[in-house]
C-alpha cells in the first residue's frame, strides 16, 4: 500500500483538509478529481478508481464528503479502501457524524489524527481506542506542560489502559442479528443470509479476564467440525482482544475487554432463512386512470414473539396522486418525495396476518420516462429472539480484586437489506 496524499473534499470538489504524506504527487492534481468524476459519471463508466495520466485517485463517498487517496504506484486497492473506511470509522468515533461541518469545526483534531493515522504513506496507529488516549477534543482546552504519555503506547494490552474504576461493575452484552433477504417477484427466495454481531458495553474496574460461553448449536466454520444440525458460521471476526489460540484449541472465547463500547465478534451465516415477515403484494396499474395496491403482510415467526416498529415500504409510480388507504392495522402514509407508501405497524405478533389497500389516481397524460422497478422493502425489530438460535450460556468475569460483576444479555433480530421484488 502506498498512498501519496489523503484529501477530504466537499461535494463541490473543494479541499477541506489534506495531508501530503509522500510528496511524490503534485498536490494540485486533486483539482482534476471532480471534473474527472463528473465526466466518468456522464459516460456511465464511474468506478472507485479514477486515473489522470500517472495519478490514480481512489475515492469513497461519505455523507457530503469525498475521501480521496492519490498515488502514482500500482498499489494494493483493497488496502487503500480499507484505510479510507478506517479514517471514516475513526473520525465518526470522534465527531459522532462525519460531514463537512464536523470537519470544519474540528480541523485541529483532524490534522492531529491524520498525522497519527499515517506516516509516509503507511498506516500507523489506526485503533481509535488508542488514539483517543492521547488525541482528545479537550485538546482545545489549554493544558500547558501537562501532556501525559499514553500508557497504551507501552502497554502489553494495547486496547485497555490500567487503573480504570467503576462503582458498579457491569457488562452489557447485545446479540444483534440482521437478516438480508432478496425475494423474487414470483415469491421464491433468491438469497438470504444473517449477519450477526455480539456487542459489549463494559463498565468494569481494573484488568478483568472475561470468558464467554455460547450454546452448542453454533459451530464455527473456522474449526471445520461436523456439520450435523448445527448452524455453521462463516466469516467470523473477533475483536483483537480475543485470544485466538485459546479459541482454536478449545473454542472458549476469553479476553480482556476494551473499556466502554466495542464489538466483540461478528459473523455471517449463509443459510436459507424463512423470511420473518412475508409480503404478498398485488400492484395493478391501469394506465391513464389509477393504481391499486394490495399488500398482505404475514409474521412467520413464533407466536410468543412480537416484531416492533414494522415498516413496509411499497413503491408507487412517481406521477401518482390522490392517495386513499385502508388498513386492517397500523397506519399508511404516502411519501411523495420518495415515491412510496410507508405502512407502519407498531407491534406485529408472530403468526398474524395484516392487510393494506391503497388507491392512487394517475394523470391521463402518461409520463414517458422509463421508471425502474423498485422492490418492496421492510424494516422491523424483534426483541428476545435470534434467527440463528445463538445464545449466551455464561459470561465469567474474573478480576484480581475479586469483585462481583453482573452480565446483562439482550437479543435482537432486525431487518438488514430486506427486499421483495414486485411484478410491476
Amino acid at each position: 500500500m502506498s498512498s501519496s496524499a489523503i484529501f477530504v473534499l466537499d461535494l463541490e470538489g473543494e479541499v477541506l483538509i489534506c495531508r501530503n504524506y509522500k510528496g511524490d504527487v503534485d498536490m494540485a492534481e486533486i483539482d482534476r478529481f471532480l471534473p474527472l468524476l463528473m465526466q466518468h459519471e456522464e459516460e456511465g463508466l464511474l468506478c472507485p478508481v479514477l486515473s489522470h495520466g500517472k495519478v490514480h485517485f481512489m475515492w469513497i463517498k461519505h455523507s457530503n464528503l469525498y475521501l480521496v487517496s492519490t498515488t502514482n504506484k500500482n498499489s494494493n486497492a483493497s488496502l487503500v479502501y480499507s484505510f479510507l473506511y478506517k479514517i471514516v470509522e475513526v473520525f465518526t468515533e470522534y465527531f459522532k457524524e462525519l460531514e463537512e461541518e464536523s470537519i470544519q469545526d474540528n480541523f485541529v483534531v483532524v490534522y492531529e489524527l491524520l498525522d497519527e493515522l499515517m506516516d509516509f504513506g503507511f498506516p500507523q496507529t489506526t485503533d481509535s481506542k488508542i488514539l483517543q488516549e492521547y488525541i482528545t477534543q479537550e485538546g482545545a482546552k489549554l493544558e500547558v506542560g501537562k501532556s501525559k504519555v499514553p500508557t497504551t503506547v507501552t502497554n502489553a494490552v494495547s486496547w485497555r489502559s490500567e487503573g480504570i474504576k467503576y462503582k458498579k461493575n457491569e457488562v452489557f452484552i447485545d446479540v444483534i442479528e440482521s437478516i438480508n433477504v432478496l425475494v423474487n417477484a414470483n415469491g421464491s427466495v433468491m438469497s438470504s443470509d444473517i449477519v450477526g454481531s455480539i456487542k459489549l458495553k463494559t463498565m468494569l474496574s481494573g484488568m478483568p479476564e472475561l470468558r464467554l460461553g455460547l450454546n452448542d448449536r453454533v459451530l464455527f466454520g473456522l474449526t471445520g467440525r461436523d456439520k450435523g444440525k448445527t448452524v455453521v458460521m462463516e466469516d467470523v471476526k473477533f475483536h483483537q482482544c480475543v485470544r485466538l489460540s485459546r479459541f482454536d484449541s478449545d473454542r472458549t472465547i476469553s479476553f480482556i475487554p476494551p473499556d466502554g463500547e466495542s464489538e466483540l465478534m461478528s459473523y455471517r451465516i449463509n443459510t436459507h432463512v424463512k423470511p420473518l415477515i412475508w409480503i404478498e403484494s398485488v400492484i395493478e396499474k391501469f394506465s391513464h386512470s389509477r393504481v391499486e395496491i394490495m399488500v398482505k403482510a404475514k409474521g412467520q415467526f413464533k407466536k410468543q414473539s412480537v416484531a416492533n416498529n414494522v415498516e413496509v415500504r411499497v413503491p408507487v409510480p412517481s406521477d401518482a396522486d390522490s392517495p386513499k388507504f385502508k388498513t386492517s392495522t397500523g397506519q399508511a402514509k404516502y411519501v411523495p418525495e420518495k415515491n412510496m407508501v410507508v405502512w407502519t405497524i407498531k407491534s406485529f405478533p408472530g403468526g398474524k396476518e395484516f392487510l393494506m389497500r391503497a388507491h392512487f389516481g394517475l394523470p391521463s397524460v402518461e409520463n414517458n420516462e422509463l421508471e425502474g422497478k423498485p422492490p418492496v422493502t421492510v424494516k422491523f425489530e424483534i426483541p428476545y429472539f435470534t434467527v440463528s438460535g445463538i445464545q449466551v450460556r455464561y459470561m465469567k468475569i474474573i478480576e484480581k480484586s475479586g469483585y462481583q460483576a453482573l452480565p446483562w444479555v439482550r437479543y435482537i433480530t432486525q431487518s438488514g437489506d430486506y427486499q421483495l421484488r414486485t411484478n410491476v
Binding site: M1, G23, N76, S78, L79, Y81, V149, G372
Partner: protein, 728 residues
C-alpha cells in the same frame, strides 16, 4: 468573520501574532495560530507569515506545536533559509523527556522536505532508532526512508542499514513493520531488502501480532522469498493457511497472492488455495462497503479466468440489488455470464431480463449484451427475451438489442431467421448512430430475407443529407450495395441516388472514397461486384473463443491484489456491445486489395507476406496454439476449426519499440491441398511440392516499422516450430 481578501487576512493575522499582548497570553496566542491554520485550510496563501510562525513553535503546548508544524511543513520548501531557524527548536525537542514531543519533533524534522537540512537531521534520527519509547522508534525508522526519498542519490550509511535490519526484531510490531517499509524504500535500487531464511521465519512467526496493514506489508515482502526445499515451502504454506481465510479482505488477498507466487510449479496447491478463498471472497462481495465489493468482484473475474467452475454453485450471490451503483451491477453481470450452465440458465436469464429495464441506460445495455453473450450457447431462450425487449419500443433498449443481435448472428448463424423477422419496424425507434449501424449491417448480411429491407433503406437514403455520422453513411453504402446484389430491381434507383449524393456532395473523404470505390467496382461488372461483396455472413468458428480454455494462473498472478484488475475489463461489455461492425469492412478490405488496387490505396496496408514451413500448425489444437502464442505475448483473436480448409488464425501483438508501442495484426492462412492452384496464381511461392506444409503469414501494421515486423516474424516462426505435432 467579514470577507477579507487574502492580503488583508494575512496582514490582520500578522498583526495578531506579533502583538506582545497576544504573545504573553497563551490562550489568545493559540487562537491566533488556529486562525492561521484555518485560513491555510481554506486555501488562503499565508506563506508570508512564515517567520512569525517559526517563533510560535517554541512553546510547551503540544497542540500548538502540532499546528505550527503543520504550517511549517506546508511552506518550508518556499522558505529554506528561515526553516533553518526551526531546526534548533526541533533538535531541542528531540531531547524532551516526553516521548510524544520527541516523536513529533523527529517526524516533522524530516517532513520539512528540505535536502539542505539533511546534515542536521541524521544525528537525531540515529538517536531516535535507539530511543526507549516505541513511538519514537517508529518515527525514526520511517524517517530514514523519507530522508532517502529526499536525496535518492546519496547513500544511506551501511551502519544505519544494519541497525534497521536489527530493528526487525524490535518488540514493537509497528516498529518492525516500519523497518520493512524503510528498508524496501532505501534499498529500492538493489531490488529491496534481503529476504533470507531467518528473516522470513521471523516475520512469519510474528504475523499474528500485527494489525491488518502490517500483515499485508509482510505478506507482500515475502513474495520475494524462495523456499529452499519443498518441505520448507509446505511449512510456510500451512502457517499461512489461517490468514488465507482471514475475514479481512486485504489480508486474504495478500495471502492468496503470496501463495500463487510461492508455488508457480505446483498448480494443484494454487487451485486448492483458490478453492479455499472462495468463501472469504464471496463474503467480501457482500461487504457493506461498495468499494470492497467492487474490488472483490474484479478479483473474482481474475480467478474465473483460470478456474471457470469456481463460483458455479454460488451464482445467486451475484444477483444485483436495486440500489447498487452501476459499476457493481455491470461487473456482477460480467461474472454471471461466466457462470451460466444448463441448470441455472433459466433463472439467470430471468434475472438478467429484469436488469434490462434498469433506469440507468448503461446498466440496461450491459444487461442486454450479457444476454447476447449467453445467447451464443443458449440462443433460443435469449432470442425470445431480446425479441420481447424490442416490443418495449424504448430507444436505448432497441439500440442495444439490435447491436447484440448483430454480434450474435455473427457467431451463431442459426439465429438469423428469428433475428430477421424481429428486425421489421424497429428502425423507427432507433436514434443513435451505433444502433443504426448495427441495423444496416444486419440488413446488408441478411437483407434478402427481410421483406421490408428496401423500404427501410429508402428511408435512410432519403435522410442522408441530414445524416451526421460518417460511420452510418459508410455502412449505408455497403448495405445498399449488398442489397443491390441480391435484390437489384428494388434497389437500383436508390443506389444510384445514394452514390450520386456521396460522390458529388459529400464532404467527408472516407465516405466519398468508399462511394467512389463502389462506383468503380460496379463498372467492373456485376460478376466482379458479387464476388467482392459476397463476404462471409458469420464466423461460427469464433465459438472456440467463447468457451475459452482456462488460462494458467501465472497469466494474472502478478497483477493480483493491485490496481490493475480494477482497471481491466471496465469497458468489456461496452466493446462487445458497441463496437462498430468491423468484421464486414475487414473482410471487404482484404478481398478488395486483391482486385481493386486503383481505388483502395488507403484501405490497404498489408505490410508483409511470408511463407513459413510448418507442418504441425493446422493439425495442432487451438488451445495448444493459443497457449504457445501467449507465452511470447501474441494474442490470438480467432481460429477456424481444426482441419477446416482453408484454415485461418487471426492474431495481434503490441510490440514495444523504443518507448512507443505499435500494434501488429496478423493472419495465418493454411490453404490446404485443394486450393493450391488458386493460391499459386496469385503469388510466386516456392516449388509446389512443399506447398501443403506451408502457412502463409500476412502482417499488418501502421505506421510500418520494418524492424518490429521482422522481429515479430522471427518470433512467430520460432513459436510455430516448437508446436507439437499431434493429429488428434
Amino acid at each position: 468573520m467579514p470577507y477579507l481578501g487574502s492580503e488583508d487576512t494575512v496582514r490582520e493575522l500578522r498583526r495578531h501574532l506579533s502583538n506582545p499582548n497576544v504573545q504573553s497570553d497563551p490562550l489568545r496566542y493559540r487562537s491566533s495560530i488556529l486562525k492561521v491554520i484555518r485560513a491555510m485550510s481554506q486555501g488562503v496563501d499565508v506563506a508570508g507569515l512564515f517567520s512569525e510562525m517559526v517563533k510560535a513553535c517554541a512553546t510547551v503546548d503540544i497542540v500548538q506545536k502540532k499546528l505550527v508544524y503543520v504550517f511549517l511543513c506546508s511552506y518550508a520548501t518556499l522558505n529554506p533559509e528561515l526553516s533553518l531557524l526551526v531546526i534548533n527548536t526541533l533538535r531541542k525537542d528531540c531531547q524532551d523527556p516526553n516521548p510524544m514531543v520527541r516523536s513529533l519533533a523527529l517526524r516533522n524534522m524530516v517532513n520539512l522536505r528540505l535536502p539542505s537540512l539533511a546534515e542536521y537531521v541524521e544525528q537525531p534520527l540515529s538517536a531516535g532508532l535507539r530511543d526507549r519509547a516505541a513511538c519514537v522508534r517508529r518515527v525514526a525508522v520511517l524517517g530514514w526512508a523519507k530522508l532517502h526519498n529526499l536525496q535518492p542519490a546519496s547513500e544511506i550509511d551501511a551502519a544505519v542499514v544494519n541497525e534497521l535490519y536489527g530493528l526487525l526484531r524490535d518488540p514493537d510490531p509497528v516498529v518492525m513493520v516500519n523497518c520493512l517499509r524503510a528498508l524496501e524504500e532505501i534499498l529500492k535500487e538493489e531490488g529491496g531488502m534481503a529476504i533470507n531464511k531467518p528473516i522470513t521465519h521471523h516475520l512469519l512467526n510474528r504475523l499474528g501480532q500485527l494489525d491488518v496493514w502490517g500483515q499485508c506489508e509482510v505478506l507482500r515482502v515475502l513474495q520475494r522469498y524462495r523456499p529452499q526445499s519443498e518441505s520448507e515451502l509446505f511449512d510456510i504454506l500451512s502457517l499461512l493457511d489461517a490468514s488465507l481465510v482471514s475475514p479481512h479482505p486485504p489480508v486474504m488477498a495478500a495471502t492468496l497472492s503470496l501463495f500463487l507466487v510461492l508455488c508457480p510449479d505446483l498448480p494443484a496447491v494454487s487451485f486448492a488455495a483458490l478453492e479455499r478463498v472462495r468463501g472469504p471472497l464471496l463474503a467480501a462481495c457482500g461487504s457493506a462497503s461498495r468499494e470492497t465489493r467492487f474490488t472483490a468482484l474484479c478479483h473474482i473475474q481474475l480467478l474465473l479466468r483460470s478456474l471457470p467452475g469456481l463460483m458455479g454453485a454460488h451464482y445467486k450471490r451475484f444477483f444485483c440489488g436495486y440500489a447498487e451503483p452501476a459499476y457493481i451491477k455491470q461487473r456482477k453481470m460480467q461474472v454471471l455470464v461466466e457462470l451460466v450452465n444448463d441448470d441455472n440458465v433459466a433463472m439467470l436469464l430471468d434475472e438478467l431480463r429484469g436488469y434490462c429495464t434498469d433506469v440507468n441506460a448503461d446498466t440496461a445495455q450491459a444487461a442486454i449484451s450479457a444476454i447476447g453473450r449467453i445467447g451464443r450457447s443458449y440462443s433460443d431462450q435469449c432470442l425470445q427475451i431480446l425479441t420481447g425487449l424490442l416490443g418495449l419500443q424504448q430507444e436505448h433498449i432497441t439500440s442495444a438489442v439490435v447491436q447484440t443481435m448483430r454480434d450474435l448472428v455473427w457467431v451463431c448463424p442459426q439465429c438469423s431467421d428469428t433475428v430477421c423477422s424481429a428486425l421489421e419496424g424497429c428502425e423507427e425507434t432507433l436514434q443513435d448512430s451505433q444502433g443504426r449501424q448495427a441495423l444496416l449491417w444486419l440488413l446488408a448480411v441478411h437483407g434478402e430475407r427481410v421483406r421490408s429491407a428496401p423500404y427501410t433503406l429508402e428511408g435512410f437514403i432519403d435522410g442522408v443529407r441530414g445524416e451526421a455520422s460518417p460511420g452510418v453513411k459508410m455502412e449505408l453504402l455497403t448495405t445498399t450495395m449488398r442489397l443491390f446484389v441480391c435484390r437489384p430491381a428494388e434497389t437500383q434507383d436508390m443506389l444510384g441516388r445514394l452514390l450520386h449524393h456521396c460522390i458529388e456532395e459529400e464532404t467527408d473523404m472516407c465516405v466519398r472514397d468508399q462511394a467512389l470505390l463502389y462506383y468503380r467496382l460496379l463498372r467492373c461488372g456485376m460478376e466482379e461486384t458479387r464476388r467482392v461483396l459476397g463476404g462471409r455472413r458469420s464466423e461460427p468458428s469464433l465459438g472456440v473463443l467463447i468457451g475459452r480454455p482456462a488460462e494458467p494462473i501465472s497469466q494474472w498472478a502478478s497483477s493480483f491484489n493491485t490496481l490493475e484488475p480494477l482497471k481491466q475489463g471496465a469497458g468489456e461489455t461496452e466493446t462487445t456491445g458497441r463496437a462498430s461492425p468491423q468484421h464486414v469492412t475487414f473482410d471487404l478490405d482484404s478481398d478488395l486489395s486483391d482486385t481493386l488496387n486503383s481505388g483502395a490505396e488507403e484501405l490497404d496496408y498489408v505490410c508483409l507476406e511470408e511463407r513459413i514451413r510448418c507442418p504441425a500448425v493446422p493439425h495442432c489444437s487451438p488451445q495448444s496454439l493459443q497457449a504457445a502464442m501467449q507465452l511470447v505475448n501474441i494474442q490470438t483473436l480467432a481460429f477456424t476449426a481444426a482441419h477446416a480448409s482453408p484454415w485461418r488464425v487471426y492474431l495481434y501483438t503490441h510490440a514495444q519499440q523504443a518507448a512507443r508501442s505499435a500494434l501488429i495484426l496478423g493472419q495465418l492462412l493454411y490453404a490446404g491441398e485443394d486450393e493450391d492452384e488458386d493460391e499459386a496464381g496469385l503469388s510466386e511461392g516456392p516449388s509446389p511440392r512443399g506447398r501443403e506444409e506451408e502457412v502463409k503469414v500476412t502482417l499488418k501494421q501502421r505506421p510500418r516499422d520494418e524492424k518490429a515486423l521482422q522481429g515479430f516474424l522471427s518470433i512467430l516462426t520460432a513459436v510455430l516450430h516448437t508446436l507439437p505435432f499431434n493429429t488428434h
